[in-house]
Symmetry: C2
Subunit: 212 residues, 2 copies
């Protein structure tokens, strides 16, 4: 097999994702009980991951014609955190929802519109914050402590947008809520994942062969 | 979607594999520096995993017509250990090889023939131990400390055999050796893996929905 430089090949740069996962594992191991510390350092790690768009395999970047998709990329073996690729086609959006755990949203490709909401003390209409545009490279945080209810939409009308999300749990398995903005009424949901298979990040036989 | 008991469905029992991975992670975290302790407790965990053949997804149980296959099921985020499904068709065997890290081999389906070897102090013919038959449910250990050179073959002429292996590293990425039994000469190799995608063990939306 001929040698090839990574800049000359379309193969995804999996070591970047592998390094991110090891760094996050260390962070959660050391500071998992301190949400502010995890969000602070995690924001920097996620910003580093999405600063270069060379590592996401195509299978986890494919939009669905109808609904946004969430592809699990990695779950911590103790389910302390998960890393998910969200792909929105033009016009696609999430319902208004919460997370119940901390979360970080980093835009890898395109742009997204984030709309945050506050719940009323009693059931009643949600209070909408001004919408924000998240451009490629930006990172947003959510959690029950700092504000946990939002909706995200693709801000682009002509192509998909992709963001990489990190959550303080196995987000696809968590019981959480969608909200009716007019009444504030909750509807329970569990999101699951779109993919039955994860990327194999661990076949380093090619790079190891090529190393000195 | 109709409710269904897990005994009535062909869906793989992924919680069994998920629990094994969490248990192994804990073991390596606590005793990773004590090989004898890891092999001792790991042997029990692996015996428990292979005691019931209801959890391996079909995609990781498929033989190749020509060569044995190794499918990565899980790699620790720090590459402290890996879990691999080895599938041998009739007549298929590994070359004589070493591991350089501890390993456990547990037979999930069928039967395997294990042939151990000792190296000579100087280069020279390998010294063969008596071959052993590993039946379904049995577990064998290897390591540089207790004997690291062997070959494994399918012991059945009419159907595949499958064993689940655990290694003290990312085995597909480790530089190790194959041996010529007549001369004892080494040939370096890195095995890699047959699969570009791992099973998604973390989509618990169905069981979580069904829980009370
Ligand atoms: Fe969200
Ligand atoms: Fe072996
Ligand atoms: Mg620890």
């Amino acid at each position: 097999m001929p040698d090839s430089l990574s800049t000359e090949t379309a193969a995804p740069n999996l070591p970047r994702l592998r390094g991110f996962i090891a760094d996050l594992t260390r962070l959660v191991e050391r500071h998992g009980d301190d949400e502010a510390a995890v969000l602070d350092a995690g924001r920097g790690l996620l910003a580093g991951l999405i600063a270069v768009d060379d590592w996401l395999p195509d299978a986890y970047a494919r939009p669905d014609p109808v609904h946004y998709r969430q592809y699990l990329l990695h779950c911590d073996p103790y389910e302390r955190f998960s890393v998910v690729s969200f792909v929105w086609g033009p016009g696609q959006r999430t319902p208004i929802h919460d997370h119940t755990v901390w979360g970080l949203v980093g835009v890898l490709r395109g742009a997204e519109r984030s709309q945050r909401y506050d719940l009323q003390p009693q059931e009643g209409p949600l209070l909408a914050h001004p919408p924000e545009i998240l451009n490629t490279g930006s990172v947003e945080a959510v959690s029950p402590r700092i504000g946990d209810v939002h909706a995200i939409a693709n801000a682009l009308a002509d192509r998909p947008s992709i963001s990489i999300h990190v959550y303080g749990g196995n987000i696809g398995a968590i019981r959480r809520s969608m909200f009716d903005p007019l009444t504030g009424r909750r509807k329970p949901f569990i999101s699951g994942y779109a993919n039955a298979a994860l990327p194999n990040l661990w076949d380093r036989s090619q790079p190891v062969h090529h190393a000195a």
